[in-house]
């Protein structure tokens, strides 16, 4: 599909959804805001290249993130691009020392995989990967906890995480202080 028509569909879809959450009323600044969001997400999927991480490290991050928040009846961390968010944070937002600490944490995961199972983390079967990460998680390993936190942020602030896994309403329009949880259904994303 040519990019123009796909972006036109994205825009229509975004506006339709915005109209739903806003109760059908769209003002000019709302339209501008919604469309600005479309622009930001228009990069074609295959073209992504990590900037702070190597492609192998990005794959490792995506795999670990998926073990932390896997695909269930909703997409998992890899599908929503948590590794892209983490790479962007490392490239744009963190100081060099933070980046180095993060990459050292990744190397440590591989080192542990090698010493326990004799192969890299990515070569381990899923069950071994999960067991290894659970060990790090239970011992509150600082590097792993940092990665886990970034994974949660990346996932639950993604559109899928916020609107399909959790609940999000851009413009609630009112506040009610005591409603049955079943009426909302799930944790509010914000």
């Amino acid at each position: 599909m040519p990019p123009t028509s796909s972006s036109a569909i994205d825009r229509r879809e975004a506006l339709r959804r915005a109209a739903l959450v806003l109760g059908g009323v769209l003002s000019a600044p709302m339209v501008a805001g919604v469309l600005a969001g479309c622009e930001a997400r228009r990069a074609p999927a295959g073209a992504w290249q990590p900037r702070a991480l190597t492609p192998d490290q990005a794959d490792l991050v995506a795999t670990i993130a998926e073990r932390i928040l896997p695909e269930t009846d909703t997409p998992g961390a890899r599908a929503v691009g948590v590794h892209r968010f983490i790479d962007a944070m490392l490239a744009e937002a963190y100081a060099a020392e933070e980046r180095q600490r993060f990459v050292a944490g990744l190397a440590d995961v591989d080192r542990r995989a090698r010493s326990t199972h004799g192969r890299t983390f990515l070569e381990c079967p899923a069950a071994e990967q999960l067991a290894l990460l659970e060990t790090l998680d239970r011992s509150a390993d600082p590097a792993f906890r940092a990665l886990k936190e970034l994974t949660l942020v990346g996932y639950y602030t993604s559109e899928i995480g916020a609107t399909r896994e959790l609940r999000h309403v851009a413009v609630p329009g009112r506040f009610e202080g005591c409603v049955p949880l079943t009426q909302v259904g799930r944790t509010w994303a914000v």
């Binding site: 602030t157 609630p172 329009g173 506040f175 799930r186 509010w188 994303a189």
Partner: protein
């Protein structure tokens, strides 16, 4: 004389906007001078419609950048990736503090100033506050030259315009006003409220009175319960200069606004013994120019106004304009905050909230009310407590062990109800808390850097200790679990309630302003921002600043008509 206006207002924040509205509506051609950039209501709220996934760093921001350029601003609760453009860069706007006396000066240099990013709590002060300095006797400031009765009609005037939601309480020390319907307490807050009011006679817990419109008011709002006010609000759901006062001023056809103009000093005309206008530095070109006007209102914020006055030197006022008393820059106060207690409200697992309420609850002051038989405490003045309960969200998953399907499933449901109580305590006016001008260093526009010397005293530390004890005891008695106190020991400035650097008073020898916010020494010079405050109360000051401003304009215009200015 070019560019002559009837009135000049320096600053466009919460008081500058009010001065402009009142002056224009009373028929004066008014110039508002703002040092920051122009911001257009709605159009320039560039992050307002961005959803979490549309923020470049998902709300996490850029820690490295914040460390370098926003080390102070980024500590403010309202600062985020979505609001950074409404805060100054600390690197570009330096000030000086002694090594052992940090002060956090939170600033928003733009049209509308900090009215875009304020906390919106809107309480009236009472005679417990206006008589506090007098009651304490010598050493704790000077007596306010006004009492509650002087200000009450102006509170009403302001509340009717801005729209304040809240409950009527009938408390003499927290007077009721013109109130829109209150926001609703959530289930956990109601449990804690019942427990506190049952076990502590005389203590109340109420919804914060807040300038968020629970219903449409004067063509604005209602608030949409997004709780993202500091991004700006196209619905005009909360009060700001941009949503309310400046449009009202503009409607008269008498308003002129100049942005990107940093006021260097007030021009003093020695022959007439009057303020003649202001000298400004263009923020972009750094060129100097002058504006002239019949009266001058300084609404540049507590520290901004002090800086301008101290920098306005003349033969008659060698230490700064209107400073015959020597009190300009002194008696700087803030509120103590960042101390209290938190806990878990058990049960209510099947209950939740809909919408994002833009405020919390409040426990009004219960110490030192002058009631017979009340507890003796080791401090003067008092504190109120800001409280709020909410269910923990997905972020709790980062701190708890757990991975995989189980973790994802668990975070689909909200966590336990947590509640936090945070004290906001009164700070004494003390001469030794002061600002002056650095004799050598200037900013990039050539303005002498402000030096801030401010520290808490024993009284504030004693209040802090009592806040923690009482907050924890109230939570325990209300049935909360895992109650713990906290104390983040915020330095002064953190509450963003700085005030007092050009205080009102009865005696020109010990105060800068009279009972009408008029400089004792210069009759056509008025200061109605936080600088004017003679004491700090323990409640949020903005509503009082607004009422004082409207009252001061009324006086100024009457005096103008009588040819007394």
């Amino acid at each position: 004389m070019k560019d002559a206006y009837d009135a000049i207002v320096v600053g466009s924040g919460i008081t500058g906007g009010w001065a402009a509205k009142e002056l224009c509506e009373k028929g004066l051609r008014t110039l508002v001078i703002e040092r920051g950039r122009h911001v257009e209501h709605g159009k320039d709220y560039i992050t307002e419609w961005l959803q979490p996934w549309q923020l470049t760093h998902r709300g996490r921001g850029e820690p490295d950048l914040y460390e370098r350029d926003y080390p102070i601003q980024s500590k403010n609760y309202a600062f985020s990736e979505a609001t950074r453009h409404f805060f100054v860069s600390d690197r570009e706007h330096p000030y000086v503090t002694p090594e052992d006396k940090p002060f956090r000066w939170i600033r928003g240099y733009q049209l509308g100033g900090r009215s875009l990013i304020w906390g919106r709590a809107s309480w009236r002060w009472s005679d417990l506050d206006f008589e506090a300095n007098l009651r304490d006797g010598a050493g704790h400031g000077v007596d306010w030259p006004i009492r509650y009765a002087d200000l009450a009609p102006w509170y009403t005037h302001v509340e009717r315009f801005i729209g304040v939601s809240g409950e009527r309480l009938g408390l003499p020390h927290l007077p009721d006003g013109e109130l829109l319907p209150a926001w609703e307490m959530n289930c956990a807050e109601k449990v804690v409220q019942r427990g506190i009011e049952r076990d502590f006679p005389g203590r109340r817990m109420t919804m914060t009175r807040v300038a968020n419109l629970t219903r449409a008011h004067n063509g604005r709002g209602p608030c949409q319960a997004r709780n993202q006010c500091a991004r700006g609000c196209s619905f005009s759901g909360y009060f700001s200069s941009l949503s309310a006062t400046l449009p009202a001023a503009r409607k008269t056809g008498r308003l002129t606004v100049v942005t990107d103009a940093i006021v260097h000093s007030v021009i003093y005309d020695e022959r007439r013994d009057r303020a003649a206008g202001v000298r400004v530095i263009d923020a972009n070109t750094k060129a100097t120019r002058e504006y002239f006007g019949g009266i001058v209102f300084l609404c540049a914020s507590t520290l901004g106004t002090a800086q301008i006055l101290l920098n306005s030197k003349s033969a008659r006022f060698p230490t700064g304009l209107a400073n015959a008393s020597g009190e300009v820059g002194h008696n700087l106060m803030d509120h103590i905050s960042k101390a209290g207690a938190r806990g878990i409200v058990p049960g209510l697992e099947d209950k939740y909230v809909y919408g994002r309420r833009p405020t919390g609850t409040y426990i009004p002051r219960f110490r030192n009310l002058g009631r017979p038989g009340e507890a003796k405490v080791g401090f003067v003045r008092g504190y109120g407590i800001q409280a709020g309960a909410s269910r923990e969200g997905w972020a709790r998953g980062a701190d708890e062990p757990g991975l995989g399907v189980e973790l994802k499933q668990r975070l689909r449901d909200p966590g336990p109800w947590q509640i936090s109580l945070q004290g906001y305590g009164e700070c004494l006016p003390r001469h030794e808390n002061y600002v002056d001008l650095d004799p050598v260093r200037t900013d990039q526009w050539g303005m002498p850097l402000l030096r801030i010397h401010c520290a808490w005293s024993d009284n504030e530390r004693a209040i802090r200790a009592d806040v923690k004890t009482q907050a924890a005891e109230m939570l325990e008695r209300a049935g909360c679990r895992e109650v713990e106190t906290y104390d983040e020991d915020g330095p002064p400035g953190f509450s963003v309630h700085e005030m007092g650097t050009a205080r009102m008073g009865r005696d020109p020898k010990t105060s800068v302003l009279n009972a009408h916010n008029q400089a004792h020494d210069v009759p056509n010079l008025f200061v109605s921002d936080g600088a004017c405050m003679a004491s700090s109360s323990c409640v949020n000051p903005s509503l009082t600043y607004m009422a004082l401003t409207a009252r001061a304009v009324d006086h100024a215009v009457n005096e103008l008509k009588r040819h007394n200015l």
